[in-house]
Structure formats: structure tokens, C-alpha cells
């Protein structure tokens, strides 16, 4: 280096310092951005987890239920038809009253009964139908508390507040404490939340119905959008003659990817429900609508990963006499598959979180039964979140966050499956 060169001396050193400072600043901006994003993510997840965890637990009270044959099986035949019509609610109420014989008067008794969930009678019936021989005996059965009582044990009721300001009366609180001191109240992992469909009673409401609905819907979406999208991409990339028409199609596919999802819902309403007469609220229709929405994403991702396959591979295969279909099937698609899968999973993730278009086709209905097929009425996870968030009962706040957690877990499971699939198909060379 010559001493007189422009790249040495004080001026050059100053320029260098300036450049280094700029580089450091740029790195700092990047770190700050990542930090901010991480902070937001942690806050969001933290809030949802803290709020949602109580939804996974609940309180049950153990009652000594006298299965009075006169109430449950007046005919005495122990036939399932008769047993199913028995007055199980009465049995539960009797058990409560036996615990607190001092409670008199219709209103007070009604309050006492209100401590136990209306689901208790259903649980009892199920138990008796499974074991008809129990009729006549007395059994100890843990039944769910009502949402208000549950909230009390979870610390959500302020006993110091004025009686009129809380959902539980002084008497009810006294009874609950008595039940607790007798050792009848226990905290349980709330499997009901993962087993049941929706319900008006928060303690009985579960996410399983919506989860199965999401599974059916996404199944239909995947089954339609993946093969159609890949086929369209292969045709456009490998076979379609380049020209005005292809350009026109390409522009329109790109535009479709940017169309707001609710528009697809309107389209589904007009075409699938009104025109084709498919059932409302069905995963089939939801899947069709979401497939329409996902298709452009799959096509665009597939095209770009097909385009990224080195042309040398195509020439090599063609050069030894592989037919166009063989070139695509044996060489191009396997190499493009990881990229195609990534695009598909992105589209599916978006479809999983989509609410608006499903509202248009009636998947927002209150549905108790777990859907049994693609045409059974169903709702999906994000719609369930929306429904619960909209419910007045306080216990649904936790359910909402719990449902969000399940939705996130579903998403993570989906992405994990994609990663596993990708690593299976990804060439190690």
C-alpha cells in the first residue's frame, strides 16, 4: 500500500469508521426488530396460556346418589328404553337435599340445585344405562359443578363483595364451603373440554366438536386444493403454450390470491348453497370455499418451486428419452415437492384460521353434536373461539383462551407434519 493512496490516511480511516458505524447501527436495528417481535409473541402466548389453562381444569362434587327404582324405572323391566326416560335430575336434587336437609322453600332449594351442573343428570343416566343393575342401590358419583360454583373454587368470586354484585348468594357460598370441608369437592383435569361439543353451559362445553369440524373442513380443503393446485401449476409451468391466454390466467391467479376471504364466502353461499343446494353449515361446503381460497396460494407456491428445478435435470431426462410426463413425474415434481408442501401448509394454516367465509355459509350455528361426516352440521375452531368470546358467561373467557390454545396446538401439529414430510422428501444431496 502506498502512503499517498486514496485508501490510506486520515480521510480513508474516517470513511472506514463511518462505514463500520453504519453496519453496527444496521445490526442493532435488526436485533431491535427481532426483540420486539419476540416480545409481542411472548406477551400474546403468555396471556393466552394464563387465561386458557383454567379451561383445562374444573371442579367436581361427589354426591351419594340413591338410584330409586321408582323414579328411574317405574316399569321395573330394566329395559334401556325405560331407563333412558328416568328422572335423573330428581335423583341428583334428592342427593343435594339429603346433604342440606335444613334448606326449605322453593327459592332456596332452587339455589341449592343450581350449584350442580345440569350435566350431572346426563352423566348419571349414562352410568345407569351402562350398568342397569345399579338401580336400587346408592352410588357415590363425582358430577360437575355449575360454572358459577366452579368459578368460586377457581377464585373468581369475591366473597367480600356485596351479595347483589355476585352470581352466588351468601347461602350458596356457605353450602359450597360445607361441601368442600366435607371433602366432596375435587379439582380435575377437565377431559370434558376435549371430549364434548359446544354447550350453553360453560362447564359442559367442549372443543372436540369444533376440532372435528376443522379436521373435516381442512380435509376437504386439502383433498381439493393440493391435487388441483399442483396439477394446475404443472400444466402452466411445463405444458401450457406461452401466450396471451397463459399470461391472463397467471395474472388472475395472482389476483385471486389477494381477494379478501369473505368474498369467497359470498361465492360459496351463492354457488354451493343457493345454486347447488348443498347442506348449510357442512364441512363439505366450508372445505370447498376454503379450497377456492387456498388454491391460488398452492398454485403460486408450486409454480415457483417447479420453476426453481434446474433446467439441466429436465434436459438430462429428456435427453435419454423420458416422455414429458415422466420428466415431470420422475424428476421435476420430486424435486419441487418440498417447496410445494411449504406453500400448501401456508395455505392450509391460513384456511385453518379463517372465520369470515365460513360465517357466510352457516358454519357459525350453535352445534352441540360432534360432526360425524363432511355433510353433518359443524363449526370450526376459529368460529368456536368467536362464538365463545361472544358469550356473556364469565366462564367462557377461559374457554375462549383454551380454544385458542387448542387452535394453536392444531397449527403446530400441522406444521410439524409438514416439516416431517418435507424432510422425508428433501434430497440429502
Amino acid at each position: 500500500m502506498t502512503s499517498g493512496g486514496v485508501h490510506s490516511g486520515e480521510a480513508a480511516r474516517r470513511r472506514l469508521r463511518k462505514r463500520h458505524a453504519a453496519e453496527r447501527r444496521f445490526r442493532l436495528y435488526g436485533l431491535a426488530a427481532i426483540g420486539l417481535a419476540l416480545g409481542a409473541l411472548v406477551t400474546l402466548l403468555g396471556t393466552v396460556v394464563v387465561r386458557g389453562l383454567p379451561a383445562f381444569f374444573g371442579y367436581e362434587v361427589t354426591l351419594d346418589l340413591h338410584l330409586d327404582a321408582a323414579r328411574l324405572d317405574p316399569q321395573g323391566g330394566r329395559r334401556p328404553g325405560d331407563l333412558g326416560r328416568g328422572d335423573y335430575g330428581r335423583v341428583v336434587k334428592d342427593a343435594l337435599r339429603a346433604l342440606f336437609p335444613e334448606v326449605k322453600g322453593r327459592r332456596e332449594r332452587r339455589r341449592l340445585h343450581a350449584l350442580v351442573s345440569s350435566g350431572a343428570a346426563f352423566d348419571l343416566r349414562e352410568r345407569v344405562l351402562a350398568e342397569p343393575d345399579l338401580v336400587g342401590s346408592t352410588i357415590a358419583l363425582a358430577v360437575p359443578l355449575s360454572d358459577d360454583a366452579d368459578l368460586f373454587f377457581k377464585g373468581g368470586v369475591d366473597a367480600e363483595a356485596a351479595e347483589a354484585d355476585r352470581r352466588l348468594s351468601d347461602a350458596q357460598i356457605t353450602w359450597l364451603r360445607a361441601l368442600q370441608s366435607e371433602g366432596r369437592v375435587a379439582r380435575r383435569f377437565w377431559t370434558r373440554f376435549f371430549r364434548a361439543g359446544d354447550s350453553r353451559e360453560p362447564e359442559l362445553a367442549g372443543i372436540w366438536g369444533a376440532l372435528v369440524g376443522s379436521l373435516w373442513t381442512l380435509g376437504v380443503t386439502l383433498l381439493l386444493s393440493f391435487p388441483l393446485g399442483v396439477a394446475a401449476a404443472v400444466y402452466l409451468e411445463e405444458f401450457a403454450p406461452k401466450g396471451r391466454l397463459t399470461d391472463f390466467i397467471e395474472v388472475n391467479i395472482n389476483n385471486l390470491a389477494a381477494v379478501p376471504s369473505i368474498v369467497f364466502g359470498l361465492l360459496g353461499l351463492a354457488v354451493f348453497l343457493n345454486l347447488s343446494g348443498l347442506p348449510r353449515s357442512a364441512p363439505l361446503v366450508g372445505g370447498l370455499v376454503l379450497a377456492l381460497m387456498t388454491l391460488p396460494t398452492v398454485i403460486i407456491a408450486s409454480r415457483s418451486s417447479i420453476m426453481a428445478v434446474p433446467p439441466g435435470i429436465r434436459e438430462a431426462a429428456m435427453g435419454i428419452g423420458a416422455s414429458p410426463i415422466q420428466v415431470v413425474g420422475h424428476h421435476v415434481l420430486p424435486l419441487a415437492l418440498p417447496g410445494i408442501l411449504t406453500g400448501t401448509i401456508l395455505g392450509m394454516a391460513r384456511a385453518l384460521g379463517e372465520t369470515a367465509p365460513l360465517l357466510m355459509i352457516g358454519m357459525v350455528a350453535f352445534i352441540v353434536d360432534v360432526p360425524t361426516g363432511p355433510t353433518a352440521p359443524a363449526t370450526v375452531l376459529p368460529v368456536q373461539v368467536y362464538l365463545w368470546a361472544d358469550s356473556p358467561e364469565r366462564a367462557f373467557v377461559a374457554k375462549t383462551s383454551g380454544a385458542i390454545l387448542v387452535l394453536l396446538a392444531f397449527l403446530v401439529a400441522m406444521n410439524l407434519a409438514a416439516v416431517l414430510l418435507r424432510s422425508r422428501f428433501e434430497r440429502r444431496w
Binding site: P241, K242, P310, G312, I313, E315, A316, A317, M318, G319, I320, G321, A322, S323, Q326, H330, H331, L335, R427, R428, W429
Partner: protein, 265 residues
């Protein structure tokens, strides 16, 4: 070199394998080949030389109809392989490419194992029934390509993991595994070092006993070393063609002389 004794064999050896008559090629509006007439002789190596962009690759790609898939490429004229028009209605380009194999400038093995690379062609053409027969084809192809000794313990390793020269020989093995009549090579050594190049040149000498070889090269020395016939292309036309020895020592055309003496390019 094998000595030729019997006259029958001799006439067979110098039979024309490919005839090209009045071949014109356009890429869109732009004409790339102008009325090319060229004969390729059986079991000999023909090299195509000429400055960059003069249409050597274009001509080569006409021989196995690889130009068919290029958007906007139009081919007129007659190319006959063993007397049959390759553009004939009953000719399937896919089948033609099995008869006329190609080795490209850049080694392009499939991202699969060495074995898979060689076995792929025979498999899609149904040349083997069962794994044992395929193994046999893979082994002989690799042997003929002079690669077997180097890769016999790594047949299941990726073909893309070989060295550049080995990859190119793998591509040659892949081409001969489908038992073509003709092998087209477009600057097969341009990405290789002198040792790998020498290896492939030796190989061509061995291969021409069974195949007809057409090679595009920018190296005059290589053309002189490996080929028996040479065609000089310039601006999309064949300026001169003939026996390699004659063309390099005593060219008829002024332009040929200028090119081979390096006075233009």
C-alpha cells in the same frame, strides 16, 4: 485403433448414419441455421467447430429433436437417421431420443444415486426385466464409460457427489445405458480439467466402435485428437467439412484457415 480387414465391415463402418439436407432453423424471427447440409458417418467421431453463437448446439439439438420443446423454435429441412426422416409422422421424439443420446456441456446427473442415474433410462424404456438385469446394464455401462472401477463401492451414493469429471462420465454411462446408436456431446469437456478431459477423449475413441459420435468443441486440439471428421460452422452455415486431418492441415476455405489458426473468433 482397430484395423479393418474385411471389405464388408469397411463399407459398413463408413456408411452414412445421419444425413442433413437443407436444414433451416429459426428461434422466433431470428434464423439460427441456414441451409445446412451435413452427413454424419457411422462409427466415427464427427466434431463441430466454429465461433460462439454460430449454431453448433442448435444443429446438435436438431438431431435428437431437443429443439421441439423450445418455445418459438422452428425447424425446416430434412434430417434422416438410417434413411428415415426424424421428423416423420410415425417418429416419436421420445423414442428418437432413446436412439440418439445426448451428453451436455455441464454435467447434469440426477440428484439420485449413481446406480439410479444409470438404471433410469433402461427402466423407463423397459430394457431390463428385474433387478439383476438392471445391475448388469449398470455395470457394463459404467465400465464402458470408464467409471466402474472408481464408483463400484459407492453405487448407492449420490451421483451429484462425484467430481466433475466423474459426473460427466456418469452422464455418458447414463446415455449409453439406453443403448443408443448415436451419442451427441455438446462441449462435454468444457467444465473439466485436462486429466478428466484426456480420460473422456480416450473414452470416445473406445466408444466409437459401437456408437456414432458427434461432438461440439471449442478446442481445435481436441477436435484434431478425437475426431475423424470435422465440420466448421460460421454464422449458422456449414463453411467446410471433411476428414479432420485434411481440414486442419489444408482447408479449402479462407475462413476455415483463419479460424483454425486463431485469426478470428
Amino acid at each position: 485403433m482397430t484395423t479393418i480387414s474385411r471389405p464388408a465391415e469397411r463399407s459398413q463402418l463408413y456408411l452414412t448414419k445421419i444425413t442433413t439436407r437443407d436444414l433451416n432453423v429459426w428461434y422466433g424471427e431470428k434464423q439460427a441455421l441456414f441451409s445446412v447440409n451435413l452427413d454424419i458417418e457411422r462409427n466415427r467421431v464427427t466434431s463441430l467447430i466454429g465461433p460462439s453463437g454460430c449454431g453448433k448446439s442448435t444443429y446438435l439439438r436438431c438431431l435428437n429433436r431437443m429443439n421441439d420443446v423450445i418455445e418459438g423454435c422452428r425447424v425446416e429441412g430434412k434430417i434422416a437417421l438410417d434413411g428415415d426422416d426424424v421428423h416423420g409422422e410415425d417418429v416419436d421424439p421420445v423414442q428418437l431420443r432413446a436412439r440418439v443420446g445426448m451428453v451436455f456441456q455441464k454435467p447434469n446427473p440426477f440428484p439420485k444415486s449413481v446406480w439410479e442415474n444409470v438404471a433410469y433410462g433402461p427402466r423407463i424404456h423397459g430394457l431390463a426385466t428385474g433387478r439383476a438385469e438392471l445391475d448388469e446394464i449398470v455395470t457394463t455401462s459404467l465400465e464402458r464409460a470408464g467409471l466402474f472401477a472408481e464408483v463400484k463401492d459407492r453405487l448407492d451414493d449420490p451421483g451429484t457427489g462425484l467430481s466433475g469429471g466423474q459426473q460427466q462420465r456418469l452422464c455418458i454411462a447414463r446415455a449409453i445405458a439406453v443403448q443408443p446408436d448415436v451419442i451427441l456431446m455438446d462441449e462435454p469437456c468444457s467444465a473439466l480439467d485436462p486429466i478428466a478431459t484426456a480420460r473422456i477423449e480416450e473414452l470416445m475413441e473406445e466408444l466409437r466402435a459401437r456408437y456414432t459420435i458427434v461432438i461440439v468443441t471449442h478446442s481445435m486440439q481436441q477436435a484434431a485428437r478425437v475426431s475423424q471428421r470435422t465440420a466448421f460452422f460460421h454464422l449458422g452455415a456449414v463453411v467446410e467439412e471433411g476428414e479432420t486431418g485434411k481440414l486442419f492441415t489444408d482447408p479449402r476455405e479462407e475462413r476455415t484457415r483463419d479460424y483454425i489458426t486463431g485469426r478470428f473468433g
